[in-house]
Symmetry: C2
Subunit: 456 residues, 2 copies
Amino acid sequence: MASMATLFAKTPSPSQPFSKTLSTHFIPALKLPVPGRPGARRRLRVSAGLIEPDGGRLVELLVAEPLRGGKRREAVGLPRIKLSRIDLEWVHVLSEGWASPIKGFMRESEFLQTLHFSSLRLADGSVVNMSVPIVLDIDDAQKRRIGRDSNSTSFDGISIEIYKHPKEERIARTWGTTAPGLPYVDEAITNAGDWLIGGDLEVLEPIKYHDGLDRFRLSPAELREEFTKRNADAVFAFQLRNPVHNGHALLMTDTRRRLLEMGYKNPILLLHPLGGYTKADDVPLSWRMKQHEKVLEDGVLDPETTVVSIFPSPMHYAGPTEVQWHAKARINAGANFYIVGRDPAGMGHPIEKRDLYDADHGKKVLSMAPGLERLNILPFKVAAYDKTQGKMAFFDPSRAQDFIFISGTKMRKLARNKENPPKGFMCPGGWKVLVDYYDSLAVAEENGKVPQAVPA
Amino acid sequence: MASMATLFAKTPSPSQPFSKTLSTHFIPALKLPVPGRPGARRRLRVSAGLIEPDGGRLVELLVAEPLRGGKRREAVGLPRIKLSRIDLEWVHVLSEGWASPIKGFMRESEFLQTLHFSSLRLADGSVVNMSVPIVLDIDDAQKRRIGRDSNSTSFDGISIEIYKHPKEERIARTWGTTAPGLPYVDEAITNAGDWLIGGDLEVLEPIKYHDGLDRFRLSPAELREEFTKRNADAVFAFQLRNPVHNGHALLMTDTRRRLLEMGYKNPILLLHPLGGYTKADDVPLSWRMKQHEKVLEDGVLDPETTVVSIFPSPMHYAGPTEVQWHAKARINAGANFYIVGRDPAGMGHPIEKRDLYDADHGKKVLSMAPGLERLNILPFKVAAYDKTQGKMAFFDPSRAQDFIFISGTKMRKLARNKENPPKGFMCPGGWKVLVDYYDSLAVAEENGKVPQAVPA
């Protein structure tokens, strides 16, 4: 009847800017080709051409508007759990059905299946992918306050479950390492409570961030509606958390060309930057969105066949495990093609001088993952700067000497030093956004402010 | 055409006893109710009542006798890989089809699926369980000697694959921890080579240990034949690596009773001690077999409905991950019921004062594991010493004060001190074997010899 427990944000209210320095650079209004977000939620119309959500239907947890008042009054009497920013991002993810068919923070059986099998078996015997634990931790005091001693109980008619939070095992099985310094672990697990609370969730209000970017945060239902409106017969998703350069643009344009060759009439690109928690040295979402805007203005991607939206999930940096989540969530948003890059969701090993994951494992694991059989995996073709053409082109190993690889590190170094990349690497407007961003960091550092890891 | 590579044991030949001290205690001839092992391998007759092997048929890798001479001559020219004792145990496991349908040490796609999904997807889309990596490591020099630089190649017509051995990731995903001191890791992974070699395997000779126990090492095909001969309509497997006490016996007898109640006419117990690598403080196989013999002589288990055999796998102590392997291998041997205890394959955390795994996770994970849907999981009922009856009985929480729990630690302490457990805990003959074993350890220690972790 009531929500699992009443959830409140314990970090600064999401309607407040997180860092004064950065907030001054918030973009007042973007001009990206984004579909109008309806004021009221409309019913989902699923086109025959769109892939089915996992479990057959999108599980949306938002309480219908007429019922909210009553639920809110009921909730007053319930125990409260304060939410961190990352917890709130997961509530957002759950509320819109990105993780369909799960109906709330994971119960123990879902948590164990996620850790051991990266998938969940449903009541009808079918299997859906689920590789990253979506869990809510509470500490001993909170557990006591919720007033339950047993490990499984029901609460106002809704069964909830409180179970042990095996942090070491969770980390080892999710990341394949327990080395200190994993960003998500430091941020959300190390100091988390020793218990997890799971069960069905009812969300009383849509999650908003009031950062000027909410209109880009389309739910899976809204994306499906948009794809249907555009008569998409194929949707290919591109997950990103970095600035877009012309190599990416080439890849996306080329993917569309290949899909047309395969016989699709109207493939639509879902350009889908990750909007939740990212590590401190990633470019923050607001800057990335500004950069994406410039790239689109430059005409390298066709607004008619591109939908730009923000994926609200926080980032784990868990390589082959996490890339499955990135792909699975996009099925729920209607994508049936997923572009996978080299070392997706990877990073450097936190304490050893090597990459944490084999660069090919993400692609391989994704292609074998249970529950993702319906998704077409499109491996990323490697693009590099072709000196002979003066532009980004697919790498041709037979004339390797003609190409320059511009790594993320190199790109950041150039932007930080206000140098220009080779002409044709990125449109000048997009490059300027990057230079401005690093400039703002330098100013912040001079003023003694440390740049923060903020998702927006 | 040829075997993947010619495999040779690099530790003492298995025909030699591993420890002089212990070898004097080897049992010359056991009198357990074991079916006669045929001199030549016979063709498998599968009863309609037996569960199908994973993948539909048992994959046996032993080369047919008439072809062995030719294969052996061919093999002379092939690169050689020396095998550790544990490697050889895995060759044994693979050669007899315990890990069906895999056909040799894992290729990378099998290894990755094992680590991420505890299961393998077969060509027909069906899924079999596979939770523990069965891999063969080689070092840089061996990789060079095999003469291949690429990551995937073919060898005399049979494709082999050499790929990186991501030790940390393997350990983290298999054990859920990377803490130092995991027995199998110390023994077989830490100092292992940085490469893994996988591919189809041909085994030129049955693996024998010449320790007086080979006749108990029935292959899955031989076990299936035995169950068929006995007209079993249900086979329930009991994995053990500890001495049997009357609580175990009660459980096994009670399980048979329950199966009869369910309508089965002739349920057969597979009493299946693990025979491969175990950690130093476990009771060695030879002593365990001697103890099992006494328990059976005592008549607590019915020889007519019990098959005693040795499971050749080495032990990982990987809790919920490993228990799936223990169960899956028994499907291949014809068992359709599997008894699962509290904290199966568990142990203490190597560096923290707690159990490594939640005691209930093994049972829970097993019941949800992909590829094990066909197997009936029977949770272990807790037996304890009932003072009012003077015997082992199922624990009744309503009169908890009447029961004494005798842990493994307590049992070992009693046996070491030559004290007797409460009458009715274990038959006197079985108890004497344990006392003798700890006595032999004390003698060895006095002589300055350290008892070794030997599987026999």
